[in-house]
C-alpha cells in the first residue's frame, strides 16, 4: 500500500536474560490513522514502541519506516517522536525550553524556534505557560507539554506510551477527546499504548490486542468488541458472559442443554466452542419468555444502568446490564437474539478466524 508509514515484519525480541518479550509481531501503520496497542501489563507494549523508536534492538525481523529498513538507525535519527509514560520533561528547563529542545538540537534559527514553540503550545492550549517551570505544572498540563514537545519536530508518527494513565478519571476523559482531535488536526499517525480497553475503544481507528508478546487480534473497535477471536480478547475487551458450548451445525449452537440459532458458521459439526454474550445484549423478561432462567444474586446501581449478577442452575455466573432494577433472589428469564451471541473456536489463528468470518459474512 502506498500510504504505509510503518511496518513491522516478524519482529522478535529476546532480552539478555533469555526472556522473549515479542513473538512474531507483524503489522502495518498507515499515514494519518490512530492505532492502539492494547494489552495487560507486561505483554510487551512498551517493548514494541521502543523497537520502533530505536531504544531497543529487535532480535530478528524488520522495522520499516516509509518503506526503508530502520533497524540499525539510532533513535536520534528516526523521524518519529515519543510521548513518554512519565512525560520525561527535563526538570532543568522551563516549558519553552522543553518544547524548543527538539528544534535547538537541530540548529533551527531562533525566530523559527519562537514561532514553532508558540504554535505547538497553542495547539495544546498552553500558550500562556511558556515561562513556567515544569514543577509548577499540574499533571494534565505536563502531559500536554510532553505532547507539544513531541510534535514540535513535525514527526510523521507519534508514539504515545500510556500518556493518560497518571491522570484522574475526569481529566482522562477530556484528554481522550483532545488527543483524538489533535491527531485528526495534525493528520499524523498515532500509535497509542494503553491497558484500558475503554480508552482504546473510544479513540482508535484500529486496535491491536496483545497478550504475552503476541498480537492476538487486529481490527476496528466495533469488530473487536462484537467479534472477539478468543476467550482472552472477549474477556479483556469489555465485560462479557463466556459459556462453553457445542457447535451443532452452521448457525446452530448448543449450551446449557438448549440449542439456539446463532449467526456463526464455518466450524466442524459438534465442535466444542465458547459463546460470548455481552451483558448489555441480555434482556430480562419473565422466566417463561426467557431462553435461559437465572436467579438474581446481587445488583449494583452504576448510574446509567444496573449491573446485575445472576446464576443459572448449572452455577454459571451471568452479568446483565439493565436500565431497570429487578428483585433480589427473583428467578428471571434472559432473552437474546441470534446476533447477540458470538461463537469462538478454541485456538483459532487470526488468519483462519478472518477468512472464516469472510466466508459467511455478507
Amino acid at each position: 500500500m502506498s500510504n504505509t508509514i510503518i511496518e513491522l515484519k516478524n519482529v522478535y525480541k529476546t532480552f539478555d536474560d533469555g526472556f522473549t518479550a515479542l513473538k512474531d509481531i507483524s503489522f502495518t501503520l498507515n499515514q494519518g490513522e490512530f492505532y492502539t496497542l492494547l494489552g495487560p501489563s507486561g505483554c510487551g507494549k512498551t517493548t514494541i514502541l521502543q523497537s520502533i523508536a530505536g531504544f531497543t534492538e529487535v532480535t530478528s525481523g524488520e522495522v520499516l519506516f516509509d518503506g526503508k529498513r530502520i533497524n540499525d538507525i539510532p533513535a536520534n535519527k528516526r523521524q518519529l517522536n515519543t510521548v513518554f509514560q512519565d512525560y520525561a520533561l527535563f526538570p532543568n528547563m522551563n516549558v519553552f525550553q522543553n518544547v524548543a529542545f527538539g528544534l535547538v538540537v537541530h540548529n533551527v534559527n531562533k525566530d523559527e524556534i519562537d514561532q514553532r514553540v508558540h504554535d505547538a503550545l497553542k495547539l495544546v492550549q498552553l500558550e500562556a505557560y511558556a515561562n513556567r517551570e515544569i514543577s509548577e505544572l499540574s499533571g494534565g498540563q505536563q502531559q500536554r507539554i510532553a505532547i507539544a514537545r513531541a510534535i514540535v519536530n513535525r514527526p510523521k508518527v507519534l508514539l504515545l506510551d500510556e500518556p493518560l494513565s497518571a491522570l484522574d478519571a475526569k481529566l482522562r476523559k477530556d484528554m481522550q477527546y483532545e488527543l483524538r482531535e489533535l491527531q485528526q488536526q495534525l493528520g499524523i499517525t498515532f500509535l497509542f499504548v494503553t491497558h484500558d480497553q475503554e480508552e482504546a475503544l473510544a479513540m482508535s481507528d484500529e486496535i491491536f490486542v496483545m497478550n504475552k508478546g503476541q498480537i492476538l487480534q487486529k481490527g476496528d473497535p466495533v469488530d473487536i468488541y462484537d467479534e472477539p477471536i478468543n476467550h482472552f480478547v472477549a474477556d479483556f475487551i469489555g465485560e462479557s458472559n463466556i459459556i462453553p458450548g457445542k457447535m451443532i451445525a452452521d448457525y446452530q449452537v448448543a449450551f446449557l442443554g438448549h440449542q439456539f440459532e446463532c449467526a456463526d458458521a464455518g466450524m466442524r459439526p459438534n465442535e466444542p466452542v465458547e459463546v460470548v454474550i455481552r451483558p448489555e445484549d441480555l434482556v430480562i423478561t419473565t422466566p417463561q419468555k426467557g431462553k435461559i432462567q437465572v436467579k438474581v444474586d446481587t445488583q449494583l446501581f452504576r448510574g446509567d444502568y444496573y449491573e446485575i449478577l445472576a446464576y443459572d442452575d448449572q452455577h454459571n455466573e451471568w452479568l446483565i446490564h439493565s436500565t431497570n432494577a429487578t428483585k433480589d433472589n427473583a428467578v428471571v428469564g434472559l432473552a437474546f437474539g441470534p446476533t447477540d451471541m458470538h461463537v469462538m473456536r478454541y485456538n483459532e489463528s487470526e488468519t483462519k478466524f478472518n477468512s472464516r468470518l469472510e466466508s459467511y459474512e455478507d
Binding site: 523508536a53 530505536g54 531504544f55 539510532p74 533513535a75 536520534n76 535519527k77 517522536n81 515519543t82 513518554f84 509514560q85 512519565d86 520525561a88 520533561l89 527535563f90 526538570p91 532543568n92 522551563n94 529542545f101 527538539g102 535547538v104 538540537v105 537541530h106 515561562n131 513556567r132 517551570e133 514543577s135 509548577e136 514537545r149 513531541a150 519536530n153
Partner: protein, 271 residues
C-alpha cells in the same frame, strides 16, 4: 503531653551536645584566640597584620589558586570517570574500588608517592627505560597539585556518581528521541542535571584543599606555603596562637563563601 515533649528533646540531646562540643566550641575558641597576641593581650593586630602584610595575602592567593587547580583537575578527571562507572554493569563494585583508597592513611599515600616520584623512583625508572632522562618530579608544584587531586578524586566522584545514577533513563531517551546527539545529551541534559552533585563535590574538595599542609610539606617540599602550612607553623613552631587562629577564621569565612556560591537554591520562577 508535656512529658512527651521533653522526651522528644532527649533524642536531640546527643546531637546538640556533639554540635556544641565539636563544632560551636572550637569555632568560638578560634575566633576568641584570634583577638589575642602572643602575650595574651587583647588586640586587633592579628587581623591588621593579615590584611596589611603582603606575605599573608600572597599566601591566601596562592592557597586559593592551588585549591582551585586541585578542584578543577579533580572535576575534569572525576566527571568522565563517574560517567563511565555509572554506565557499567557492576557499577557498585567499581565505585567501591574508587572509594577504597580513602581508607588508607593520608601519610601512607604521601610516602607512597614519594617512592614513586623520587629521583630514583618507579616513574623515573620507567622513563629511563624509554630513554627519557630522569626528571625532578618531587617537590614541584605540578606533583603537589596532581597528588592532591589524586587524594581528592574519590570525594569528587562520589557525589557526581550519585547524581548521575539519579537521572532516570527516560530523560536520556527523550533527549535522543527529540534528535539530540550523544554529545548534545551530555551537555544539555546530563551535565545540567548533575550540577547539584558537582557543587557538593566542589564543597567537599575545595575547602580541605586550602589547607593541605601535610602534602605541601611532603610532596611540595615546603616550597609551597599555603594557609594550612601557616596555621601549622604558628601553632606548633612560633607558638603565635593568635595569628594561627586569625588564619583559621579566614579559612572558615572562605568556607562559608564557597558554600554560599555553590549552594543549590530552590528553583523559583524565572524572571
Amino acid at each position: 503531653m508535656a512529658m512527651k515533649k521533653s522526651y522528644k528533646g532527649l533524642f536531640y540531646a546527643p546531637y546538640l551536645l556533639w554540635l556544641a562540643l565539636f563544632v560551636i566550641a572550637p569555632v568560638a575558641l578560634i575566633i576568641y584566640y584570634s583577638f589575642f597576641d602572643i602575650h595574651h593581650q587583647f588586640t586587633l593586630r592579628n587581623y591588621q597584620d593579615f590584611f596589611e602584610s603582603g606575605t599573608y595575602l600572597t599566601m591566601t592567593a596562592n592557597s586559593v589558586l592551588y585549591a582551585f587547580l586541585i578542584t578543577l583537575i579533580s572535576i575534569l578527571i572525576s566527571y568522565p570517570m563517574a560517567l563511565v562507572i555509572s554506565r557499567l554493569q557492576h557499577r557498585n563494585l567499581w565505585i567501591l574500588l574508587v572509594i577504597l583508597p580513602t581508607w588508607i592513611n593520608l601519610l601512607l599515600k604521601a610516602y607512597a608517592f614519594i617512592g614513586l616520584l623520587s629521583r630514583d623512583g618507579l616513574v623515573n625508572s620507567l622513563f629511563s627505560f624509554f630513554g627519557i632522562p630522569a626528571q625532578q618530579m618531587l617537590f614541584t608544584d605540578t606533583s603537589f597539585i596532581l597528588v592532591a587531586a589524586y587524594i581528592q578524586i574519590p570525594f569528587m566522584i562520589l557525589p557526581i556518581y550519585n547524581s548521575l545514577t539519579d537521572i532516570s533513563d527516560s530523560y536520556l531517551r527523550a533527549s535522543s528521541d527529540l534528535g539530540a546527539t550523544k554529545w548534545q545529551t551530555l551537555t544539555k541534559i546530563i551535565i545540567p542535571m548533575t550540577m547539584p552533585g558537582i557543587k557538593s563535590g566542589i564543597q567537599i574538595v575545595f575547602i580541605p584543599s586550602l589547607s593541605l599542609f601535610m602534602l605541601s610539606r611532603l610532596i611540595g617540599g615546603n616550597k609551597i606555603i599555603t594557609l594550612g602550612t601557616a596555621v601549622e607553623e604558628h601553632f606548633l613552631t612560633t607558638m603565635n596562637w593568635g595569628m594561627g587562629s586569625t588564619i583559621g577564621v579566614v579559612l572558615i569565612v572562605s568556607m562559608v563563601v564557597v558554600m554560599l556560591f555553590t549552594s543549590t537554591k530552590r528553583k523559583g520562577r524565572r524572571a
